[in-house]
Structure formats: C-alpha cells, structure tokens
C-alpha cells in the first residue's frame, strides 16, 4: 500500500526530535564500540586483570547510562508524534 506523502523538510522542533531518535539509535552502536575496544589493548602477554580495566568499563557503562537517561524524556514526550517515520 502506498504510504502517505511526508513533508521533505521539517520545522525546528520535529527536526530536533528526529535527530534525538537518531542519537538514541546510535547509542548502542557507540556502546558496542567502546565495550569492544579493550579487545585491541590486550597483548598476548597480559594475562591478569588490572584495576584500570575495571575502572574503564565502569566509566563507559556509567556514561552510556547517563546518555540514555538524557535521551529518554525527550524520546518519550515525542512518542506518538509522526511515528510512521520508522
């Protein structure tokens, strides 16, 4: 079935909402990147756990949670508006 035609350009508020959704979609990608990054640090020789690793992971984790918390209210309030977009 044909989709209703959508406007090509948007006003400022809907534009921001769309970009926020984009950011929310990109967040797990960023997260995956940061959480897989340490794989490239460890040389074969390093066998044991360092406190640096622990701190790195928890900081990344906290940052991701913080970003998700920052996005959530905007996403939630924008829900229901032009949802057919995806």
């Amino acid at each position: 079935m044909r989709r209703p035609k959508r406007p090509l350009f948007l006003a400022r508020a809907p534009y921001r909402r769309r970009r926020l959704r984009d950011a929310a979609r990109l967040l797990p990608v960023l997260g995956a990147f940061l959480l897989l990054l340490p794989l490239l640090w460890a040389p074969e020789s390093r066998m044991s756990l360092t406190s640096g690793d622990v701190i790195y992971f928890f900081l990344v984790w906290l940052a991701l949670i913080g970003l998700a918390a920052a996005f959530a209210p905007g996403l939630r309030s924008g829900e229901g508006v032009d949802e057919e977009e995806d």
Partner: protein, 894 residues
C-alpha cells in the same frame, strides 16, 4: 548462626512476599494500583534477569575468568539503551496484539501457527529446565554453607530434601498468585510487585556485602584497587571471540528469555515505562556488578584454597563472623532464585497450556460440552504446567547431581533461547519472513544447540557416547560436537553459538525466500512490521457465517458468562440491536478474537473462531480484493477531486453568465422604455406639427419651420431604424463587405473629420503619430472608418476632462494592426466595462447626444465581420478602446 533461625528467617521472608502479593492483588482487583504501576516497579521487575546465577555465580565467574562476567550485563545494557530500535516495537506489538508469551508472539506473527508455538515452547522448556535446576541448586548450596558452618553440629538437612521443599513451596506460591484468574491480558500484579520487592532485597544484600568487603575487610577503594592489581586473578585473557560472543548472547537472551519477555512485554502497563527502564535497568545491572570484582579478589585472598568461589558472597561474611550480613546475603540469593523460578514457570506454563495442552484438549474433545467452562480447564492446565515445570527442574537437578559449575549452565540456557532470535527479529522487521522459514530456522537451531551444547553438557558418556566426542557422529570426524565441520579453534560455547546461529539464520532466510506465505501470515506480517503505522486495513475474518449464539457460548466458556455477555451486548448495541446477539461482522470477529487470544493465545483463539465461522480464514483473493479496493478508492477520490474543481469552475462561469444575463435583462427593459421614448419623441412632434399644418391658417414662414422640424424628426427616426437594421444585418453575418487596399491614415483622417460634427462646440486636441499610421490595410475601409468615427465621437461625447484630448496610437505586429483610442477622461467604471458593447447600453443619460446606444454594439459586430475585434482596455489613464484588425482580410470568397 543457628540453622533453625535461618529456616525461620526464610519462612518469614516468604510470608512477607505472600502478604505483598496478596495485598497488591486485592488492590488490583479494586482497580487501585496507583504507584504500583509506576516505571520503578517495572524496572525492578526486569531485574529477574539477575538470577542466583548472577548473585552467587558472578563472583565465581570473576574469580575464574576475570572481567568476562561483565559481558553478561553488557548485552542487556546495549539492548536497553538502544530501546528505540527493538524493545519499543516489541512492547508495542505485544500490547497491540495481546501477546501472552514468547511462543504466542512467534505463532501469532507467522499466521497463528500452533506448530511454531509448540516448537518455541519446546525450546523454552528445554532451555529453562537446567536453568531452574540451577536456581534450586543455588538455594541448596547456600543452605549447605550455613549447615556446614553451624558450630553446634546440628543435623544438616539432606540437600535433596531442601530442593524438594523449595520446589514445592515455589510451585505453591506461583500457582496461588499466577493462576488466580484468567485475565484478558496475561498480567499478574501481585507477582510483579513481589518480584520488585525481591529485586530491592537482592540489590541491597549485594551492596551490603560489597560495602562490607571494601570498607570492612579491605581498607577502602584505593586499597581494593591495589589488591586487584596485586591479585593474580587467574588467567584472565581477553578472548575476543568469547568477549564479543557472550555480549551478543546475553543481548539475545534478554529479549528471548521467557521470563524476560513476560515482565518486559506481557506485564508492561504503559509503554512510557520503557523509556525510564532504558537507563534505569542498566543502572541496576551496574549496581549489581559494582562489587563483584572486589568480593572475588578479597575472597580469593582470604578464603582457603579449596573454597567454592560461587559462594564467596555468603562465606566471606560468615568467615568474618558477620552472621546478620550473611543472613541478608542469603535472603538476597534466595530472592534471586525464587523470583526467577516464579516468573519463568508462569511464562512457561502460559506457553505450555496455550500451545500444547489446550489445543490437545480441544482436539481430543472437539464437541466438549458447550456448557464446559473452559476457563477452569485453562487454569487447571496452567497449574499442572507450573507443577510440571518445577518437577522437571527438580528432576534435572537430581539427575545432574547438582555438580556442574553454575555459569556454564546459564550460558547454555541463554544459547538455547537465543535460537528464537532470528524468527523474532525477522518477524517484526521483515515482511518476507514466512512460517516455513521460521520453522526451519528454529528446528535447525534447536538441533545444533542440542548437539553441540546441551547434550554434551551432561558430560561425555552421559547422553552422547564418548566416541561421538572424539570421532564424531557415526564416526564422521566433521560432526564432532565441539568442532563441527572441522572448526576447532573456538571455545565450545562460542562454537555452538557460531554454528547454531549461522545455520539457524541460513535456514530461516532460505525457507522464507523459497516459500509463499498464506494470507493470514501476510496479514499478520504486515500488522507486526508496520505496527507503528496504525491499524492494518483488511479484516482477518472476511465474511463471517458464524452463528452468533454459538460464538457467545464459546466466548462464555473462555471469558466467563458475565464478561462475555457484556461484550456481546455492547457490540449488539453498537450495531443498533436490542438483543444480546450482534451480527458476526468481520470487525466483531476480529475484536472477539483479540479478546480471546489474551486468554488462550492467538493460535487457539483463531482456531476456535475458525471452527465456528466455518471458513478457515481470509484468502489471498480477499487480500487482493482489499488491495485493489483501496487502489480503486484512491483513484476514485482523485477523479472526484478533479470533477469537483471542474464543477467549481463551471459554477463560477455560470454565476458570471447569470449576472450578465440579469443585467442584460434589466437593460433590455430599460431600452424598451427608452426606444419607445426615442420613437415617441419625434413621433409626437411630427404629429403635433402635422396637426397644426392640417388645420390651415398657418403663416407661410411657420409652415416652413414646422416642415423642417417634421423633416428633422423623420430623419432622426430613420437614423434610428437604420442603426437597428444595420445591427441586425451585421449580427446575422449577411453583410456585404467591399474589401480593398486603403490607407489607415486616410481612414483616421476621414473619421476625425466626420466626427467633428459631434459636439462641434468642444475643443478637442488630437495627438497622433503620423509615421506609424502609414499602413495599407486590405479591408473594408468604409466599415472600419465607421468604427473609428463611432469611437472618436464617443470620446468627444463622453470625455469629461476640461481640456479633452484624444491620443491615437497605432501598432503593427505579426500581421495584425492595433489602433488605440485613448482619451484623458475618467474612463469607464469597472462594473460597466462588460456591458458597453451590448446593444442599447448607454452609460449615462447626461450626455445623450442622439443615438440609442447601438454604436458600440455595431462596432463590435463590424469588427467581427472584419476578422478583428474592438475591446475596452482597462487600467489606462482614460477610456481606451483598442481596435484590432488583420493586415490582410482573408475573405472566404477570395
């Protein structure tokens, strides 16, 4: 710590949970849930992801494999912070389609196929059984820790006995609160709230133990960091494959685990809660894992070499003599185990009863007395299923002997349920995914998982003979469970993940690409994939022939008498009927099915209505008809739109014409009185003077004067009649034209001279551009001159400027010559412009200078006959008439 005290605490804790669940159920029944429906409760209930495996096992995991335990939490974190991708859609679908379980989702998406429901149920049960066994084992182990630590030498309970009691207790609790009623939406407020309480307990317990370890045993954060660096946390080697693989696996599991699906989708009250949970749940996970590493490091330091690291959370406080803290930790672990078992068994019981037991029961007793209350059957099926699930878990625990390390079982269970992932994701993002593809993928995945991961987990020689491990199935070395197709480089779990997922996806995609979906499948596919685009057009029941009474009877069996009657009555009223029985319209059948599927699952509800409607469902032709109907509708509306604009245009033209007609009619009336007047005035004077003359005795000079007057008046009459005659000849097109070459300048000269007779008293300045007038026209010069005379005379008559002037501008372009007569008067009012060329129109009577208003009408007719036109040009300074003539008049005769 006396063992009996522990048992007592345990009982008190369970009693407390019972009370919570009971109170909440009571409030839910009265519809007063209030804050209990808040996002906080939703988020906390999601924490059943953290089972006893997490609570106890994570420390052991960290002690054995370093930071790898974090991957178990990273997967869910990524899924939740990326909720806009998947979870939002999943929850929306779950709510829109009254999904009751994971199996229901898959079966509903693929054409309400019960086969798929059975397969998913099978996978879920097989994967969950060892997991439940694991929880029982953890409880038994933790009891064991206290029992062995008991200094008074009290008789340690038999582990098997403890497991039985725990299993029975859990079954009792679950049956009591999980199968109280058959809700339209499969929600259990009491249980969810109890789970939320347990979530708080386990978090507090773990944080308390962690704080004790960091600040009580070790000397604060800095010291712990130093200890971590100093500790030889065995061989923590980052294995990229395992790291990535387990993150993926845990991400898949958090969506596909039956208990997670239950709390996340089925028990969801409000989609907005998901937004909060998107960061709050990862935060919970982080808090849960914050102290794992310190506990593991300190535990390894402090505890004797042979101590089980899985139990450090308990043994560390005990060893330090902190009985109360150990008790709290024990309750935390107990909470983790019980909440997981409760929700998992509810989720599994829903699947088993909806997809296995009820369909079977309906098949065995097809005509099962209409009076039967199916609700009791369903509830009984649920209860039996819960008991069966727990019995299975207990059985597995007994068989496996409770020896396996906790973590490995957890991962194997994750991998089992992850087999549902391709069918689920494909189902909600890909309309091309078909039932056959889903079945193929699931069966392939299940088989490979069983062969490479589940069955070998019992150990060599237990289920699979030892030779299979070393030489492969049927001595085919490329079929060895841990190195399929010769891939030996991978860790067993990653090996199983790799092959099961790869072949699962392959089979799913190939099957989907090569088969053709049935109509219901296609409908459901569209409804699931496009869930955000509003309702999917076509009805699932094309043309129902169902007997409403039979429908009501069936609905009563599932929903209960009162609910069903209310539903039917409301529908009947909406249809404008007074009785209890509405017409089985497609829309009604649809909503009824949705209502029933909330209780017995989509596949069963669909089959039951299908039986009554007689005709299984919509056909491809129906779908096509709907599609072409909507296309026709679009086309029709486009045509309507076009017709409407056309009508508007026509209406506008008609209105204009009507206005003109009205004015014309008014004018005609005015003219008639005028023409009578025009004719009468000379007639009167002619009659009067001729009477005087006939009376005689008139002086001769008067006779002459009277005679001249009579003559003049007669001339006026003749002129009027001539004009009328002329006009009618011109209008009929019967005019004879004498076409010849003539100079435009000459014609204008003649016209100016002739027109001077009109109001000769006025001084009129004429502005001409003589060079432009040197054009020779092939036309009827006399007629054209007549037009010019008329226009010039009009200007002389009507131009109201004090120093009147007339400009004559000639232009020659593309074979046509235009002559503009522009005066410097006021011009003609806009509303009169349309009328001046009509017969008998005369704008003002003020300057009536003979003529009956026929001049311009005659001009127009002449110009038409000459192949040109005369028009009033608005917007100039004064009145402007434009005469357009062809340079060469082509007569028909010529």
């Amino acid at each position: 710590m006396p063992f009996n005290l522990l048992v007592l605490a345990c009982f008190l804790y369970v009693a407390f949970l019972f009370t919570v669940a009971f109170v909440v159920e009571g409030r839910a029944a009265k519809g007063r849930l209030g804050w209990l429906r808040s996002p906080v409760v939703y988020t906390l209930s999601l924490s059943i992801y953290c089972t006893a495996w997490t609570f106890y096992g994570a420390v052991g995991y960290a002690a054995r494999s370093g930071l790898e335990f974090l991957t178990i939490y990273f997967g869910p974190t990524l899924v939740f912070i990326g909720w806009w991708w998947l979870l939002r859609k999943l929850v929306r679908i779950g709510r829109r389609h009254h999904v009751t379980s994971l199996a229901d989702l898959i079966s509903s998406r693929y054409g309400k196929s019960n086969t798929l429901g059975v397969i998913v149920t099978l996978i879920a049960v097989v994967a969950a059984t060892p997991y439940i066994a694991l929880q029982l084992q953890s409880v038994v182990l933790s009891f064991g820790v206290f029992a062995s630590a008991a200094p008074d030498g009290s008789r340690p309970l038999d582990p098997g006995q403890i497991a039985v009691w725990v299993a029975v207790g859990l079954a009792f609790f679950t049956i009591l609160f999980g199968t109280r009623n058959l809700d339209a939406r499969e929600q259990h407020h009491g249980i969810v709230t109890a789970i939320a309480v347990e979530a708080v307990v386990k978090l507090v317990a773990l944080l308390a133990v962690g704080s004790f370890v960091v600040w009580g045993i070790a000397g604060g954060v800095a010291d712990v960091i130093a200890r971590i660096d100093a500790a030889d946390l065995a061989a923590w080697q980052v294995a990229p494959g395992r790291w990535t693989g387990i993150i993926f696996l845990s991400a898949a599991a958090v969506i596909c685990l039956p208990r997670m699906f239950q709390v996340m989708v089925v028990e969801n009250e409000d989609e907005g809660h998901l937004a909060r949970a998107s960061w709050a749940f990862p935060l919970y996970l982080m808090a849960m894992s914050l102290f794992i590493v310190p506990i593991a490091v300190v535990g390894l330091e402090r505890m004797p070499a042979g101590a089980n690291p899985d139990m450090f959370v308990l043994t560390l406080p005990l060893a330090e003599g902190r009985g109360g803290l150990a008790m709290l930790a024990f309750l935390g672990g107990f909470s983790s185990a019980t909440s997981m078992v409760i929700v998992e068994s509810i989720a599994l019981a829903t699947m088993i009863s909806n997809h296995v037991m009820i369909p079977l029961w309906l098949r065995l007793r097809p005509g099962a007395g209409v009076a039967d209350d199916l609700r009791q059957v369903v509830l009984m099926a649920r209860r039996l299923a819960i008991a069966a699930v727990l019995a299975l878990g207990y059985g597995y625990y007994r068989v496996s002997g409770g020896s396996a390390a906790l973590a490995s079982i957890g991962l194997i269970a994750f991998l089992g349920v992850a087999q549902v992932l391709p069918a689920m994701l494909g189902g909600i993002y890909w309309r091309g995914a078909t039932r056959a593809g889903a079945i193929l993928g699931l069966v392939t995945g299940l088989a490979i998982w069983a062969y490479t991961s589940f069955l070998p987990s019992f150990g060599p020689g237990a289920v699979l003979p030892e030779t299979v491990f070393t030489e492969g199935l049927m001595s085919l070395s490329w079929l060895r469970p841990y190195s399929l197709f010769g891939t030996e480089a991978m860790d067993p779990i990653i090996h199983a993940l790799f092959w099961s997922m790869a072949l699962n996806v392959l089979a799913f995609c190939l099957g989907s690409l090569l088969t053709f979906p049935g109509p219901v499948e296609r409908l459901q596919g569209a409804a699931f994939v496009n869930v955000f685009e509003g309702a999917v057009g076509p009805q699932r029941w094309a043309r129902g022939r169902a007997d409403p009474e039979a429908l009501l009877a069936m609905a009563q069996r599932i929903l209960g008498e009162e609910v069903a009657l209310t539903l039917f009555q409301a529908e009947a009223r909406a249809q404008g009927k007074e009785s209890f029985l509405p017409d089985p319209t497609p829309g009604f059948l649809d909503s009824l099915e949705a209502r029933l599927s909330g209780s017995v699952g989509a596949a069963t509800a669909h089959a039951m209505i299908g039986q009554l409607v007689g005709r299984a469902t919509v056909t491809v032709e129906d779908l096509m008809a709907v599609a072409s109907e909507s296309a026709q509708l679009l086309e029709y509306s486009a045509r309507l739109e076009a017709r409407e604009t056309e009508l508007t245009r026509t209406a506008g033209a008609l209105r204009e014409a009507n206005e003109k007609l009205m004015q014309l009619s008014l004018q005609k009336d005015a003219f008639l009185s005028q023409i009578s007047h025009e004719l009468r005035t000379p007639m009167t004077s002619i009659r009067a003077f001729s009477e005087i003359l006939t009376e005689g005795e008139v002086p001769p000079e008067s006779v002459m004067r009277y005679g001249r007057i009579i003559h003049d008046e007669a001339k006026r009459l003749t002129r009027l009649l001539d004009d009328l005659l002329d006009l009618s000849v011109l209008e009929n097109g019967a005019v004879q034209l004498t076409v010849g070459l003539a100079s435009l300048q000459g014609m204008i000269d003649t016209a100016l001279t002739a027109a001077r007779a009109t109001r000769p008293d006025r001084e009129f300045q004429v502005i001409r551009d003589l060079p432009s007038e040197t054009i020779y026209l092939k036309t009827d010069a006399d007629r054209l001159t007549q037009v010019f005379i008329n226009l010039i005379s009009n200007a002389r008559k009507y131009c109201d400027a004090t120093r009147p002037e007339l400009r004559i501008a000639v232009r020659h372009k593309a074979g046509r010559v235009t002559v503009d007569f522009i005066d410097n008067g006021k011009g003609i009012a806009k509303d009169s412009q349309a009328l001046i060329f009509e017969k008998f129109s005369r704008l003002t009577d003020a300057n009536r200078a003979g003529g009956a208003g026929l001049g311009l009408a005659i001009c127009r007719e002449i110009m038409q006959n000459l192949g040109g036109s005369v028009a009033y040009v608005p917007g100039q300074r004064g009145a402007t008439f434009r005469v357009t003539v062809p340079l060469r008049l082509e007569t028909l005769a010529a």
